[in-house]
């Protein structure tokens, strides 16, 4: 993989998706997550609250799949892409690529059996699988289109 390719993959397939997930959590979701405790500790909660006053009413118009399921899928996708970049064209590629999916899956199962806090959701499982397949497909397509690259 060329350096320029790696940078653009990281920006478009990791940083921007993660930023979208972060924005969903901060501006449109409820405040019962650890992140808001962190915001309070670093003294930016008033600033965040001011922005949320304008954005929160719009959360009613955003599909619940985007609000509640997409951020988890984004997490799995971005993580898989990063691992894919690191282990591209090695025999360990598929194992490391699967870690994001395995972590997402085990997190959901732990929620199901009340081992960790959170709410189990079957849609999240589906989104996790979809994100993993999407990341895998990205690398197989990349390999196909860059087969003569050294």
């Amino acid at each position: 993989m060329k350096k320029t390719n790696i940078t653009s993959i990281i920006i478009f397939h990791c940083v921007i998706p993660l930023l979208i997930g972060f924005i969903i959590y901060v501006l449109f979701r409820d405040k019962n997550i650890q992140l808001f405790i962190f915001f309070e500790r670093i003294g930016v909660s008033n600033f965040i609250n001011n922005i949320r006053e304008h954005t929160l009413p719009f959360s009613e118009y955003i599909p619940k799949l985007i609000l509640y399921n997409l951020p988890d899928a984004i997490w799995v996708y971005s993580f898989s892409i990063i691992m894919g970049i690191i282990w591209y064209r090695t025999r360990y590629f598929i194992y490391w690529l699967s870690i994001g999916f395995v972590l997402g899956l085990s997190s959901e199962l732990c929620q199901l059996f009340n081992i960790i806090k959170g709410t189990f959701c079957r849609v999240d499982l589906f989104f996790n699988i979809f994100a993993f397949v999407l990341a895998y497909k990205y690398f197989t397509n990349y390999r196909r289109s860059h087969r003569y690259e050294f």
Binding site: N32, I33, L35, P57, N69, T90, C121
Partner: protein, 139 residues
């Protein structure tokens, strides 16, 4: 150093960052397990809002207090209306707020002799990280 070891160390480091990111977005308090996550924690407030021509009479008809309350009149879409903020509105209590106390961010006050209140919204914080929302309008 062997490239496999370097790759492994970088991967573990990135895994740690991603796990930290996941932890920061995890719930900060216990919730019961439900089938679907799509259940919102937004609560529709039981409020009674009246306007007597000069003052707004707002009643909190809920059995819980509203905290960090933002009361707004005549908001439309992305444009914010005239806002009044209150730290606390106690449960089963009625408050009277003069119309002139509602102001836009640029300082323009709501003049009840020039404008008619068309809608009224309340956004507040509730215990347990929940948000309270009320929206009503006059014809």
């Amino acid at each position: 150093m062997n490239s496999k070891i370097i790759r492994s160390l970088i991967s573990l480091f990135i895994t740690g960052i991603f796990l930290l990111f996941a932890y920061s977005n995890s719930e900060s308090e216990n919730k019961s397990i439900t089938e679907s996550k799509t259940e919102s924690t937004k609560v529709e407030l039981n409020a009674d809002v009246r306007f007597d021509g000069a003052q707004f009479i707002i009643s909190n008809e809920d059995d819980f207090d509203w905290k960090n309350v933002r009361l707004e009149i005549n908001s439309s879409g992305l444009r914010s209306g005239y806002i009044y903020r209150a730290d606390l509105i106690k449960s089963n209590t009625t408050y009277t707020i003069g119309a002139l106390q509602f102001a836009k961010k640029d300082g323009e006050r709501f003049n009840p002799f020039q404008s008619k209140p068309l809608n009224f919204s309340i956004i507040c914080e509730l215990s347990g990280g929940k948000s309270g929302i009320f929206y009503g309008g006059w014809e």
